[in-house]
């Protein structure tokens, strides 16, 4: 018997005519790991929320959801709450209490378990997740990745049989995301926990999951073993763009044979192509007039604290897109706030268009000169609808290289990650900046929206803007940057054109670069590799 049986479920939100889910049928067996993917608005979140009774949205639902053969409505309240664990996207807002130990105990306190049982389960979970060191720390001192692991642990202490994860790594950096996914996988392997997961970033998830369910406009397009599903997506670029690089390369080469999923399998695909030793020419960065200059910049938040920026030297030239990459806590975001004049450096000089920041008097730095779009785009919004928001910033909708008209009457908080980013970008562009600083613009943005964002940034560059992007997303940087800089311990350690830059890095680089290493020189994107493989085939 299946753990979960979804039979002909349709769902319509109140006041909507088009159903969010239509005749959805599938079942999940105990111990299975199921990934759910689909474009934004395809009904992924609605589906997951329907599976967790306490979080089910209001609306008209038909069809049946059976848990262990029992209709969802007939499962006792307590069992429904504790048997299904649910972790959402935003790590910060899901945490209820102020200390790690209390958060772990929260669910168990709700179950009214006696002290010794709580003590045992909390200890067990803290040890399993390696949380001993931060057990009695305040939650606010944790990093985003640690917070999300805490959310997972706080659910796992209740010993659920089904774990539902709604884009759990969307707000995390790639290393924290990989750690989170690995932990989920470990739970699945060690305890036979059933997992249903949706993700923007499928690169890591797909090779691990047993089955892949593709949703399109509320309908199940496919639900099968991932290789089979992906192999069938040939004519669906909007879904394919979220898939692992190996699978995309496989499709670009004509979808012949078994679909590879991981970098290792992708290497075999490339190996079979002829034309080994080919390569693309190296790129050089052409120097121009500097737009942003940081010279020997030092910065620390506390008088007695450590240096966050240590002798930072970075020059960004006018009319280029410069991507700054680097690990967590290396000081990238701090660099942007210093460059934007929000934090004053303790030493060194920052010049914007040849003029020192402190010489920009009376907030003139932020008028038609420089602007910063922060990591948490919600901090940009002040009004109740997108329309008010744009009117408030005096943003001309017609001037933008993208269309916001369909979103006009929505609340900015209700938009998807990609849409929020675009609205925030519109607001930021209204100050007519010449230098645009972006902090993690791809956080919480799905693959299709990311592709769109790259187009928009290139269009802005063509209009003469200089763009500095701080990001963890190497694939994104490879596609849009003119120059990349590697940040490490408070300063830039290397810069270069993306092709050269990524082919010299061996870990901090794109999946394609890792797949083609040793066979092709300087192949960084799927298009590069596909072109080289095709050339080989023509020989």
């Amino acid at each position: 018997m299946a753990l979960l049986d979804i039979q002909h479920v349709s769902f319509t939100y109140p006041g909507q005519t088009r159903p969010a889910l239509q005749d959805v049928c599938f079942s999940v067996h105990a111990g299975e790991m199921l990934a759910v993917c689909g474009a934004t608005g395809s009904g992924k979140s609605t589906l997951l929320r329907l599976l967790k009774r306490e979080l089910a949205p209001l609306g008209e639902k038909t069809g049946r959801i059976l848990m262990n053969g029992v209709p969802q409505e007939d499962v006792p309240e307590a069992e429904a709450a504790y048997q299904v664990g649910y972790v959402m996207q935003r790590p910060e807002q899901q945490i209820v209490t102020d200390k790690v130990w209390h958060e772990l105990a929260f669910g168990l306190e709700n179950m009214a378990l006696p002290q010794p049982v709580i003590a045992r389960r909390v200890a067990e979970m803290a040890a399993y997740f390696g949380m001993e060191d931060w057990y009695d720390k305040p939650v606010s001192s944790l990093s985003g990745g640690q917070k999300q692991l805490l959310n997972l642990a706080a659910v796992m202490v209740m010993q659920p049989s089904l774990l539902i994860l709604d884009e759990p790594t969307a707000q995390l950096d790639p290393i924290a995301a990989a750690e989170f996914i690995a932990t989920v996988r470990k739970l699945n392997q060690d305890t036979g926990l059933t997992v249903i997961i949706t993700e923007h970033r499928l690169e890591e998830v797909i090779p691990l999951c047993d089955r892949l369910l593709v949703l399109e406009q509320g309908r199940v397009l496919a639900c099968d073993e991932p290789r089979q599903v992906i192999a069938k997506l040939h004519d669906r670029p909007e879904l394919l763009c979220a898939m692992p690089a190996a699978a995309r390369l496989y499709h670009a080469l004509g979808a012949d044979g078994v679909c590879p999923l991981s970098v290792r399998e992708g290497r075999m695909l490339v190996e079979n192509c002829r034309g080994r030793g080919r390569g693309l020419p190296e790129e050089e960065c052409t120097p121009g007039t500097p737009a942003l200059e940081c010279k020997e910049v030092f910065f620390r938040y506390d008088r007695h604290g450590p240096d966050v920026l240590q002798g930072l030297n970075l020059t960004v030239h006018e009319g280029e897109i410069c991507c700054v990459l680097g690990g967590n806590g290396s000081g990238k975001t701090t660099m942007l706030t210093v460059a934007a004049g929000l934090n004053k450096p303790c030493g060194g000089a920052v010049k914007v268009f040849g003029k020192k920041i402190k010489d920009y008097k009376n907030q003139s730095l932020y008028r038609e000169c420089l602007t910063l779009l922060p990591q948490d785009v919600q901090t940009v919004f002040l009004c109740n609808t997108v329309e008010e928001e744009l009117a408030d910033a005096q943003a001309g909708v017609d001037m933008l290289p993208f269309d916001l008209r369909p979103l006009m009457h929505q609340h900015p908080y209700d938009l998807s990650g990609g849409e929020q980013q675009l609205v925030a970008l519109a607001k930021v562009l209204a100050t007519k900046p010449r230098l645009l600083l972006l902090d993690e613009p791809t956080k919480g943005v799905d693959a299709a929206a990311k592709g769109k964002l790259i187009g928009i940034l290139k269009e802005l560059k063509a209009r003469g803007l200089t763009i500095v992007i701080v990001t963890h997303d190497v694939e994104f940087a490879a596609l849009c940057a003119d120059r990349c800089a590697m940040f490490f311990r408070g300063s830039v350690v290397s810069t270069g054109a993306p092709r050269t830059f990524f082919s010299q890095n061996s870990f901090y680089t794109t999946a394609v670069s890792r797949m083609t290493r040793g066979w092709f020189r300087n192949a960084v994107t799927v298009e590069d590799a596909a072109a080289l493989c095709r050339q080989g085939g023509a020989e």
Partner: protein, 289 residues
Amino acid sequence: MRGFADYNPIAAAVYFLAVTGIAMFCMDPVILALSLAGALVTFALLCGQGGRAHWYTLGLFLVMALINPLVSHNGVTVLFVMNHNPVTLEALLYGVAAAAMVVAVLYWFRCFSCIMTSDKLLYIFGGLSPRLALILSMTLRYVPLFGQQAKKVKQAQTALGLYKEDNLIDSFRGGMRVFSVMVTWALENGIITADSMTARGYGLGKRSRFRLFRWRAGDVLLLTGSLLLAGLALMGVHARAFTWYPAIAAAPMDALAIAGYGAYGVLTLLPAIIHAKEAIKWHCLISSM
């Protein structure tokens, strides 16, 4: 090694209540001197140096000690007359005693706040009701979170040019808008938190409470010891019956008074005694290894 900070919070709280309570309500010079000395020793032990704050306290002490004889003209021993008002020895000494009391209590409170982390307060108040404990814990989380987010919004809006000029009116107007959006943010995020709580079965019934601390023999000893010593000290103070006005007078030092003072002295030094005991134990352990 179990320092004073590791004792059960309820025992520690009772200890602080006893030691400060007696200092506050018994205007007895010996008690006050013992209390001040004990508070300083305990402070150095539990909280470390303290830095510049000591100078402020000294200033406070001097001001309070000098103000009393200027405003209170009670007492029989006139030292001199100022502006047709007598300045008396009794008022001066009383001022010094009152200042010592305030400073001692201040130091005891500082020790208390060094020792009582939010976890311990939660343990004490959570005993009244698990729901109260949760509210307390959530407040401790959300108040700083709100502040952090407000700071982030302010930075974001600065970079967006919300503040048109460098003047007060403009920054006030900007601040108001940031505050109003923070309310929306808090409500919006409250929904996610509420979801996360119901998803984990909050509100299904009676809650239990996970306690980080438990009672050990040492805690019971500290609790009963504090209460006994405090009782003895009170009896001693009562037997001494010290009065400041109109003339300084007290019953003769009998055995009970001496015992009372002794008991209070031990009480103020309890954390130091515990500390010394642990240090000796540790030393013996090391040398026997």
